[in-house]
Symmetry: C2
Subunit: 213 residues, 2 copies
DNA sequence: AGTTTAACGTTAAACATTTGACAGACTTTA
DNA sequence: TAAAGTCTGTCAAATGTTTAACGTTAAACT
């Protein structure tokens, strides 16, 4: 046996968190027609050191070129492959309140490969209504839709109180990961990763930064 | 001279990031009528170790009690004070697209002290329209509103391409911090902190977690 | 062709964070 | 009033992350 590909063996979480930023920037530069980018210039635009950038990019299966830097197109492709966003990912959204509807209507995620294939809500008042081109479905149809459409990711935008119960239903329906937009902390089996995007927490973190001076 | 209050001297960022979670949980428990909470039980519900919790809470100006733990009400108050969210914070929102409108309509932030006092957009097609009880204002009125209402925080939900320019305008208008909901990386003077809430980055991070196995 | 030099990739040191361990404090119980 | 037991606060070790430094590679130029 052979440690042939160090690259694919557990990338540090701090690095994984930065990878989407590199990807966004590589994508942007490539679209602007820029062909090469150096670790220093990436660092400057993302507020990091060039050393961190080089260290981070050493985890992906892609080489820079002396005196030029990294090819933007190559970097974009390699990062997308590493993150697993080089193929579409099907998602469903649970909770068709203001935030849920905003996300369902936002086309950017779809363009980046995150395809929403269903919008669910537990409230009979909302079920059956249209959100963009979606018709809001009842929670009872969750399991069937996840199975049929091979849904990988569930996006939660329900009220705090309902969050854990909905998360449990999503896990039972066999989604593979959760994006949590609620303020609740979700408990899941370790095979079902959760990433939190808490706007309220971010506001509070910002309050500290603004006021502790 | 005297190092009297170790508590108020630079709390590690990792700790500041967790404080909003402790606050949310303390608030929830207090509302449920729970009076005491131990570091172990906080740790279990938030997915941490009890050691981390005790270490973290030692940074706030509040003491636990042997054999009982922390008073939920006391903890809530102390955390709010430490984070600076014990008084209202005025915010404005720039970008009245789907996401911006959803946030403006979301009442939860207001209940937590983040008072939105204005919604702005650069598009003449949107200016003057209503979003909830707000009338969308033109960017030209930004400086005056920030000064008049003593706005501390600007929330950005504009398209990627416009983000830096809008951030610059917000900084000139003298907001003290930015919540960035765009995919752009914002460059600001160090006196103006930025906290990012990138849904797309979170989705990508989740893609890695789901697919790298 | 050879030299220069910009940039990468990697190492190791510095720094930050997390964790386990335990003394001491306080409540409870008898 | 004393003993038992539980939970905090803190220390120090372990782990994880960031950074500077430097050898190496290959493009560009003479």
């Amino acid at each position: 046996m052979n440690t042939e590909d160090i690259t694919s063996l557990k990338i540090p979480v701090a690095v994984v968190r930065r990878m989407p930023k590199y990807l966004t920037q590589a994508q942007y530069l490539r679209q602007e027609g820029v062909q090469w980018v150096s670790s220093l210039s990436l660092a400057e635009t993302l507020g990091l050191t060039s050393s961190t950038v080089r260290q981070d990019l050493s985890h992906i299966d892609f080489q820079g070129v002396s005196k030029r830097g990294y090819s933007t197109a190559g970097l974009e492709a390699a990062l997308a492959r590493t993150l697993g966003v080089d193929r579409d990912i099907t998602c469903i959204l649970v909770g068709a309140g203001n935030l849920g509807r905003a996300l369902a209507l936002h086309e950017g995620f779809g363009r980046q490969g995150f395809k929403i294939v269903g919008v669910f809500d537990s409230s009979p008042a909302v079920v059956g209504k249209k959100v963009g081109h979606f018709i809001v479905r009842p929670m009872s149809s969750l399991v069937a839709v996840v199975a049929e459409k091979k849904v990988e990711i569930g996006i939660l935008s329900v009220p705090h109180e309902a969050a854990q119960a909905v998360a449990d239903q999503l896990i039972l329906s066999r989604v593979r990961g959760l994006l949590n937009l609620t303020t609740a902390h979700l408990r899941t089996p370790s095979a079902v990763p959760v990433v939190d995007t808490r706007v309220l927490s971010s506001l509070r973190e910002l309050a500290y930064a603004v006021r502790s001076r």
